[in-house]
């Protein structure tokens, strides 16, 4: 897969993650019944760990995905010399997202004892972003994006 395609896939995944986290944020703020096949989502949303410094965790998630999408959108524009730096930033961000997702999944399984399907979707997206960002970093074409004609 070319780096352009890889970048687009990551961008699309980040957008999808942003929508999922954004919905969870909105439902959390509205104190709405979250569409879920079990009671897991509500249990997770009601748990004290669903907020950090008084702000819903989903809000941080939305900002994370938004910033990831911005990084992906910026990448094709930066000069060749800066490509490696940007790829490293994307990888760093992907790693942060992945580690946070692992921690949140741990909280769901072992602290809250409930699984929210929306959180699982987000964790899968974050994992995919991590893997792809590592691929994009290793990609030999990373620094040779063809300049626009």
């Amino acid at each position: 897969m070319s780096i352009i395609k890889l970048n687009r896939v990551m961008f699309a995944l980040a957008l999808a993650g942003m929508v999922v986290a954004g919905l969870l944020w909105y439902w959390h703020v509205q104190n709405a019944d979250i569409p879920c096949t079990n009671a897991g989502c509500d249990r997770v949303a009601q748990h004290p760990t669903s907020r950090l410094f008084g702000i819903p965790v989903a809000a941080y998630g939305t900002l994370f995905y938004l910033s990831f999408a911005v990084l992906c959108a910026v990448r094709p524009s930066v000069r060749e010399q800066r490509q490696r730096l940007l790829a490293s930033l994307v990888l760093l961000w992907g790693t942060v997202g992945f580690l946070v997702s692992v921690y949140l999944t741990y909280l769901e399984l072992f602290v809250i004892h409930a699984i929210c399907q929306w959180c699982v979707v987000s964790a899968i997206i974050a994992t995919a972003l991590f893997v792809l960002s590592a691929l994009a970093w290793r990609h030999p074409q990373a620094v040779t994006i063809p300049t626009e004609a």
Binding site: D33, A39, A69
Partner: protein, 216 residues
């Protein structure tokens, strides 16, 4: 800016604007919320019928009558609040349960029947907790619950399909409707004979606390 970047930013902007627009739209079109708490003319005696599931101190001056739907996630959360309140103000609250299975929850009636059938063998609260923990339980799963609680399975099955049990639930529903219950959970908080209605579980603890602190 390269055209690829421009394309991605346009996509991002599109999603952001669409999301913000939809959020704003649904926020401004949300149904008007009736006041969560209101004083009512209801007397405690209107809601107290013997034979209903109850716990806490039967002689307590503070009585909470709960109208609940076992398939409703908010009721499950409300139950957590109730448990905390009962623990915190041990011996000072009496809790009485009334069924209010909503039509929008396809299994709510079956769950109500199961809990009422368990009530006939003295295990209402245990069955309630099991159902709240697994709000997608099937009929077969309910029977497993009954078995794990040591209920007489044959009797449980019979009660679950009996007209008497259905009648109990119908009466609870009618009582709730008569006194203005329209959503679950709805609580009636009585101090002595003076009652007020609390819709939803979010303000329950905040309503009960001052009553209890003033009571002690």
């Amino acid at each position: 800016m390269k055209s690829e970047s421009r394309f991605l930013f346009v996509m991002l902007g599109f999603v952001l604007v669409l999301g913000a627009g939809l959020a704003a739209l649904s926020y401004y079109n949300r149904p008007p919320q009736p006041p969560a708490v209101r004083e009512t003319e209801i007397k405690l005696s209107d809601l107290l019928v013997s034979g209903k599931p109850e716990k806490g101190n039967p002689n307590a001056r503070v009585v909470i009558v709960e109208f609940s739907d076992l398939q409703c996630p908010s009721c499950s959360r409300g139950n957590d609040t109730i448990e905390q309140l009962l623990l915190r103000y041990e011996g000072k609250i009496r809790l009485v349960y009334r069924h209010y299975p909503l039509d929008i929850h396809e299994r709510a009636r079956m769950y109500a029947m199961a809990a009422e059938a368990a009530h006939r063998q003295g295990k209402f609260w245990e069955m309630q907790d099991l159902i709240f923990n697994e709000q997608n339980a099937t009929q077969k799963r309910l029977e497993e619950f009954a078995k794990s609680l040591g209920l007489n399975l044959e009797q449980f099955r019979k009660d679950m399909n009996s007209r008497e049990v259905a009648q109990v639930i119908a009466e609870d529903l009618a009582t709730g409707q008569r006194f203005g219950v329209s959503s679950t959970p709805t609580y009636f908080l009585f101090v002595g004979d003076k009652g007020r209605m609390i819709k939803g579980h979010t303000s329950l603890a905040a309503e009960v606390q001052p009553v209890m602190e003033g009571d002690s």
